[in-house]
Subunit: 115 residues, 4 copies
């Protein structure tokens, strides 16, 4: 059983029950995804590493909610663009491995163009 | 076989081969996710609906790449925060359904606080 | 009388009255700026051009608020980084002009690397 | 002489020389602003406070460039929306002061709704 397909089916059923497909053009879907990513980042804004660790204990659900909102939006866009996730993820992974070869990238956080 | 776990294992293997866990605090992981979401949005910037449809034909791979980069980052954060994705996704879905009841939200793109 | 300096003085006085300088490292300042930019974009999310025109009439103040919040954050960062705005703006303008020469960029929305 | 008006005149002259007003609807202008804000944030991604301090010395121009790109976009949007910046900035400042009263907000980085 593929759990990715299962999640995507839930996302689509949720959308269709609300008749929202009419709003889901690529630009606004990407804005929505971006907006959720910002809400996740806002959870950590102004906080020190210690405060973030504390926040992850006391407000774990709100952080997890934001991660799930981002995932929801990714799965929705992937469905709209008819992306075969396992296949394309694998393809992109190989591209990443070529861009960040282990011997050059190991222990460095630089962009591939600066390695 | 769970394909979500499979993708996450690939993300972690990729990270560990490069010794990048040391950089992966929640704040920078969220920045990285945000940054990829912006790259996806940039694919559609200044373009009309027709130009976007054309772009999705002529430059499909670069758009798909950005979606996969976002997914990569979501899976990485979910792993770091030790999130049980299927369970938490289901929980958030029920929260969304309560916020956007079908009878109120149907055919509208307003925020739940304005329904 | 420079109105840029005037606005920046207000931003700094506001910050100092609240003893917030302690939180204003470059990374979190940039996150805060990004967060405000997303709130501005959210004002237009899912809306058609007609709906946006209507929104700018009926909810003008909330849109203007977001633009001012972004400006507030830019002026704050520029102050923290000790940027001479008129001088650096002029310098960057010349860089933009070189990247987007009028004869190549006229009437096109492509990135300079694709002109 | 108002330096804000001076900068805005340069932004508009730059735009008009390239015949770009046709692309400048509110949604895409806000996306462009967001995109520049992300580029600024990317300058600090994965970096420790020490690495950021070092980066601000060795790569100061690229950081300043990003701040100026954000400012450029804010001034452009403010012009498009016909915003009287000094007046609206002052108005928003008073709103901020009401939301973050000195006695409650002093030394805290919480959102106004959590003070």
């Amino acid at each position: 059983m593929s759990d990715l397909s299962d999640l995507q089916q839930k996302v689509i059923a949720y959308r269709d029950a609300r008749d929202w497909k009419q709003f889901h053009n690529p630009k606004d879907l990407a804005i929505s995804l971006l907006s959720e990513a910002t809400e996740l980042l806002d959870e950590f804004k102004w906080k020190t590493p210690d405060e973030i660790a504390e926040h992850l204990k006391t407000s774990r659900e709100s952080v997890v909610d934001e991660v799930m909102d981002v995932l929801h939006n990714v799965l929705l866009i992937a469905h709209e663009l008819d992306i075969d996730i396992p296949k394309e993820f694998e393809r992109k992974m190989r591209k990443n491995e070529a861009r960040y070869p282990v011997d050059k990238a190991r222990g460095k956080h630089r962009k591939y163009s600066e390695l």
